[in-house]
Symmetry: C2
Subunit: 440 residues, 2 copies
């Protein structure tokens, strides 16, 4: 299982960004890594998951861990694609509506298993769509161009060899690669595999992602917060997104009691999972605690991002397993999961896909940007009109209206109403139209 890592990328980013740049006591330290840097790094450190055999009926969304090769010629026999008459094409060359060719009717081909027939020159047999052509027959004349008259069939239109048939290996040749390694299986692919007699596939196991939350202000979602406390949201958000991205979430709960608690929980998670996501408390000292604990057991590879608004993200490694520290605000967590963590899961699963797919939409209003900065903005999509959502930090309900993310690169002054934009979106399920609460 050869790793396709680009270690130099990791090393370079490590050099540039390992030491967070402090901007004074009170401001969180902000690195200068871009989202692109973070994605490169995370793709370079993602470990492969093991290869497992799965029944095709339970393989939708899995990534092939080995190419799928056809064992047989498919369909395996010359097959009619029309209801009509199996003929030797050469016998029909002089046929026309005014001067039909007459062939001797020599019986019917049954669909399904039937004894092997051989067609003599000057004869024909009825055949249904899907039927196996008799030997020495090389084409089918459609019913519309043939008329059975006693023991004789009148053909009013010539056919060429191969007309209205599928050749015995036209769907697939034995030994041909049907699907390459790295292909994500879709429902239609599973149908194809069944049709080709391939009922099990070698796929990458789903990566197991450990999920931890930190913050003294957190209570469980079904708890009752006192003044100053809030419900823990991120582990639910991260779990559901991991499942959507084809990973298995494994929750470890909330680390309340500072570094020792977090440290112990992290060690357990590292021993049981393929990668770990820690979502941090909202306060400054809480964010630093995550980095401190990762450093204690492994190494910090990236700290801080240069995007707007500032996102505190930590990428580290413990025992070869990626550790991602995310901020506390659910909207930031959502954004970084889609932009960065989605890549981790893709690489671990061996997928050739890079990031999430984009679709087009039209800017519903002017979207201003400062040319010095790069923006990733959560948006609503309403009949292809893109409306940016207000980004008041800490509002959970922002996510209710979030349908995707747009990117405004550094150097741009923004986008005018009516311009075509690319939107990154995970679910393609739109929030309802009548929820303008957070529009600006």
């Amino acid at each position: 299982m050869q790793k396709k890592k680009h270690i130099h990328t990791s090393d370079k980013i490590n050099q540039n960004h390992q030491i967070p740049q402090s901007r004074g006591d009170a401001t969180p330290s902000i690195g200068s890594a871009s989202i692109e840097d973070a994605v490169k790094l995370i793709r370079s450190i993602a470990p492969d998951t093991k290869i497992e055999t799965r029944y095709i009926d339970e393989s939708d969304g899995y990534t092939l861990g080995a190419p799928v090769v056809s064992k047989y010629d498919i369909p395996g026999f010359d097959r009619s694609t029309k209801d009509g008459f199996a003929v030797c094409a050469a016998d029909t060359q002089d046929a026309s509506p005014h001067s039909p060719v007459r062939l001797t009717f020599s019986g019917s081909i049954q669909n399904g298993f039937s004894p092997s027939h051989t067609l003599s020159r000057g004869t024909c047999m009825t055949i249904a769509t899907g039927g196996a052509l008799p030997n020495c027959s090389d084409a089918v004349v459609m019913h519309e161009h043939a008329h059975l008259n006693g023991s004789c069939v009148e053909i009013s239109c010539p056919v060429s060899p191969g007309d209205n048939i599928i050749r015995r290996d036209e769907d697939a040749q034995a030994g041909k690669i049907l699907f390459p390694e790295g292909r994500i299986l879709r429902p239609q692919d599973i149908g194809v595999l069944a049709g080709f007699g391939i009922c099990t596939v070698q796929v990458r196991a789903m990566p197991i992602i450990g999920i931890l939350s930190t913050g003294p202000e957190l209570v469980p979602a079904d708890g009752r917060p006192s003044r100053g406390e809030v419900r823990e949201t991120n582990s639910y958000l991260i779990s559901a997104l991991c499942r959507k991205l084809g990973a298995v979430p494994n929750r470890y709960g909330i680390a309340w009691e500072g570094s020792t608690d977090l440290s112990n929980m992290l060690c357990t998670a590292v021993s049981e999972c393929d990668a770990i996501i820690i979502s941090g408390g909202s306060a400054h000292d809480e964010r630093d605690r995550t980095a401190e604990v990762i450093s204690k057991h492994g190494a910090i590879l990236l700290s801080g991002l240069s995007i707007s608004p500032r996102k505190k993200m930590v990428i580290g490694e413990i025992q070869g397993k990626p550790i991602i520290g995310l901020p506390g605000h659910p909207a930031s967590v959502y954004l970084l999961l889609l932009l960065v963590v989605s890549n981790l899961i893709q690489v671990m699963k061996g997928s050739v896909t890079h990031g999430l797919l984009k679709e087009f939409g039209i800017a519903g209003i002017d979207i201003k940007a400062h040319p010095d900065r790069e923006y990733h903005i959560p948006v609503r999509i309403n009949e292809n009109q893109i409306i940016p959502l207000s980004r008041k930090a800490g509002l959970i309900s922002l996510l209710t209206h979030c349908d995707g993310i747009i990117h405004i690169p550094q150097g741009s002054k923004g986008v005018k109403k009516g311009e075509i934009l690319e939107v990154m979106d995970l679910t393609r399920i739109r929030s309802p139209n009548h929820s303008p609460v957070h529009e600006k």
Copy 2:
């Protein structure tokens, strides 16, 4: 549980299309219903599934069976969105960089549960992002605009009431509808629900879809076909698509032995499932058998479609349960599942969504059409370039390259290369770029 049926639509279609129009012995009988007619009919006969309670962590993709209402004000206290100082905004009105206002430092607010503080005029307290504002405080001054100097804090910028805070009910007010009935839950919604302390939701149960195959030429996918036989593909395709659409597939295998066999299997399936899909054999008499068996136990409501290429589809009803008869060719099955059956599952689940979402792409080549006909064409999408796939009947491998479906309405002569088109797509996972086998 009030049904929102439009029975008149069903009745109308029933009247118009109940009797298939025969075009002679050899040609399959073709009705004149459009895809739109079929969708209207199927939406009108779809029964609701029951409502069940689910833990939010297992509710992704489910449709709400009742509105979700906030039980509390969220966050429940005025909350800081910045690291800084909690103040009375009025105390800062005269502040400027050259003439800072001096406030008495009166301690720190800890994040998480802490005793209730009250701020006196002329004083301030340090507060972190997420902290609960003390009583009588109505704004936060960011650290950047404040300097702690012994027992005194110098404020260099005025704030207004509400600056840098979230009000106690700004995220949600107790009693407010957070999500309406019919909303499909997404990962981000599950995060929001957790944050609002809602850990269970009322959702529509997944519909159970019975799946039957007919055809004397079929062998199971893991069987070994003899000459003239092919592997049963459609039940795998339909199962995987049902799961993707949020339904539970229930397979009943292959009806080999003609009408009696099919009739018995169909009765069992009707007693156990919410709707049934029968994929027919490829031959003419086989297709008629499905309609005959449905008629025996219930009623045929629609038979045949006017789209190109001709698709033989039967819609019926037995004991109030929809029965869909599909053709045998997997590519036709795929197309009709996406165009028509997806609507059945959506309505059964109570979703407000209508059909599959569309995205934009650019025609990669000229696509010709006959103005007399309506087309639904399977396509590949390669970096937003849309390439129609060849449609040779019976080739299973067509599906390997199929990324979506385009619609060319009646009256159109087709689409020119470079024109923008809408594509309907279920998975948004693209087939690999290097598989030009079926391009034309």
